[in-house]
Amino acid sequence: MTDMNLGQGAGADVAIPPKRAWLGLVSLLAIAGTQWWAVSNSAPDRDMGNLQKIMYVHVPAAWTAFIAFFIVLVASAMYLWKREEKFDLVAASAAEVGAVLTALTLALGSIWGRPTWGTWWTWDARLTSTAILLLIYIGYLALRAATDDAERRARWSAAVGILGAINVPIVYMSVRWWRTLHQVQSSPSTISSTYVDGLRLNALSMTLVLVWLILARYRAACLQRAAETASENAALGGRV
């Protein structure tokens, strides 16, 4: 025989996180501080002059883009495991922020490259891989945009996010082999320890900015979802 006990209402019950403006303030101050410290404390690179200082933004941006992708991976896996909508929204937020950071990384890399190599683009291994990473992100976001049903969107994005994340190291490896098998790779010289410290500090503060941005985006996503649910319930005649 068949027993049924299905609850009513299919709305999202995601708790909306608090605004945390202080985090925004702190992280922006942090990044401003570390940037100023790094830029003023390191001497102009002997080959590339002050242009080298763009690395203080470019490298942390790349680093945090990776962290964002990692968050997408974990949140997607959590969603498929627990089926709680909040994980899907975290993954989507991280993907959006990650895409922006990846685009920033590419732009800065290209800007650095122009005076250095004479062109806006070389098929440098890291730059190329980052471009592919951006495209994987964009595919993820495009799929989300094309899918109207929330549950389906969450499930599909989770699967796509996980597969995309798995591919990231493979992409980087294969592109690097492609460029280095018969060529000597050119990379920016990293010599002074102040330079390395500067990079590390900025990576830390950039991570703080990342966390703040993802949380802010997540909050917006929760609000949006709550609004959607409210209108769904209104259409169905309210919860009985």
Partner: protein, 207 residues
Amino acid sequence: MRVEAGEVIALVGRNGSGKSTLMRAISTALRPTRGTATVYGNDIRTDPGGVRELTAMIGHATGVYEDLTVTENLHFACRMAGESTDPKRLLEALERVGLAHEANERGRNLSAGQQRRIALARVFLRPVRLLLLDEPYTSFDDEGVARVNEALADLRRRGGAGIVITHDFERVRTAVDRTVRIDNGVLIDAHAGPPMKQDFPKKVGHG
């Protein structure tokens, strides 16, 4: 809500009341956000595969592959269901639904009613313990309706259970034992016997 082995119930309610959704949840096509259901002891959430072994559903879609012949469609269905694909069995099922002459016709050459009979033939080929029918009488003439009710009677006799969604209280009269009414996704009424006129809301603009 409970359905006992050997009984067939009618599920009624106005459009959008959640009947199809409920049925799709039971058939494991949809995951419920809250609550659960068990089919002969198999929970739809933890053991959907077990539920599917025992359950068949005929919904709005006929699922007929248009480029394959009728027989090939049934052959595929049997293979997928793990049933024997003995051509005699297939022909027998086709005869039961009155499609024996069309056995080698491509799906796309059939009318909507004929395609729905293929769906019914699938059910005859795969004896299940729970049968879910969503508006099974549409596109069927009297003969087709008789076949559907025959399948339901068969089911009862075998100790299976069935849930039928329909607006057609005339045609379903002999086929069901109990009626359940839902609205807005909530069960609001149940009574023994087939659905009566009162169970169906007045049409807008009439009387």
